[in-house]
Amino acid sequence: MKTETLYSIKDLRKCYEERCILQLQHFEIFRGEILALVGPSGAGKSSLLRMLNFLETPTEGTIEFEGFTYHSGLEAPLEIRRRVTTVFQRPVLLNRSVWDNVAFGLELRGNRDAKGEIHSALEKVGLANLARQRARTLSGGEAQRVALARALVLKPDILLMDEPTANLDPANVTIIEQIAADLNKSSGTTLVLVTHNIFQAKRLAHRISFILEGQLIELGSNHDFFTSPKDLRTKAFIGGEMVY
């Protein structure tokens, strides 16, 4: 794989009031890769994801994204923000039909004539038959697949996924993982996946980073991460010895 840098993070700190929850000296995300961020709860993974989606600014340091430098007190331009989207752990769907939820992001962009794309996105997640159903009547797994469809239909350059399969049944986990992998393979979409599940990271990711207490402990290829971790804490995490 070519290693063209998409995000370059430098001396990043994220603090809420007095408490700093993330400190990264140097960290890069490459175009077209699937990067998994693994680590226990409260490690700062989701905060990093929100900054990669330009939803929160860093307290200190910068995130370089294709010539745009994101830093404290700066709002990302809309055209930059619209290249990235997130599938959240707990999707909040609009009180509308499944179809309207998937159409929503396109409507924000003034695109009201994309029936083909919406139908295709719903087919990909296997919910075309529920298009007219109210989104709030769906099960957790179906709701997450709608959230994935509303992201897919936007054809983002970067798809961020924050624990997208937590609390889902194995069937839904398989569907979501398959769609994510296919998207990366067919469209070259860059995927950043936050997960507790190291097996999911192993199944999907090209590179894996282990974040603990806001620090990057280890970053390596999928193979190296699991076969020859450099840090003892990574070994403990992989081996299930770390309690979290």
Partner: protein, 220 residues
């Protein structure tokens, strides 16, 4: 009597309708800001808003009376766009002051009832700040509609303020509520009751119309 009654009904609807429009224009954005943003002094503004929601209309009428009287702060300015006392304009100002805290307060509560994660997720899908606020308001539309209904209910049936600043002048500032007071005092209970019936009917029709406006939201 019928032309006079029609005039009273139309003036009631005109005064309360315009006051409600102003209250909606002020109250919904204010409620949305209070519900969505955290800033210094927010709690104080909320406390003032809640106080405004329970403010006795007659006291509002008294304040507006003092402000608009010839020696009052606004009345002494002699600006053409500031209405004089005992005009429909003065009644609209009083009713707007009564109504907008109701609209803002109920809108704030409705907006705060929407899942706080929704706004972030909508922005993540590419919404501008304005689109995100609009989306939250649309999700809270039942509550927002209730805020408008509450605002309307608060002024269409109000008598103290319009009596003070309007003066209940026949053919000029007489509205349904002040007419009911007058007819009751004159002992014309049948007419007073009939006017009361008209007031109830108007209120009912207005509320049904607003519910229809928001489509199927109440069925969901």
């Amino acid at each position: 009597m019928l032309p006079a009654l029609t005039e009273i009904i139309l003036l009631s609807l005109q005064v309360s309708g315009i006051a409600l429009l102003f209250s909606t224009i002020i109250g919904i954005p204010l409620g949305a800001i209070m519900g969505l943003h955290r800033f210094k002094g927010r709690k104080l503004v909320i406390a003032l808003l809640y106080t405004g929601m329970g403010f006795p209309p007659v006291v509002v009428g008294l304040f507006v009376y003092i402000l608009l009287s010839r020696s009052g702060f606004l009345g002494s300015l002699n600006w053409s766009f500031i209405p004089s006392l005992f005009t429909p304009g003065a009644m609209i100002i009083a009713q707007t002051i009564i109504s907008f805290p109701l609209v803002a307060g109920f809108t704030m509560a409705a907006v705060m009832g929407v899942d706080p994660n929704l706004r972030q997720q909508v922005i993540s899908l590419g919404a501008t700040s304005r689109q995100a606020v609009w989306t939250v308001l649309m999700e809270a539309k039942v509550g927002v509609m209730v805020s408008i209904i509450a605002g309307f209910g608060g002024i269409i049936s109000e008598v103290g303020a319009v009596m003070l600043v309007g003066g209940n002048i026949e053919g000029k500032t007489r509205v349904l509520t002040t007419a009911i007071v007058l007819e009751t005092r004159k002992g014309n209970f049948d007419l007073a009751l009939a006017l009361g019936g008209v007031l109830l009917l108007l209120s009912f029709i207005a509320n049904v119309a607003m519910l229809r406006l928001q489509g199927k939201a109440f069925d969901e």
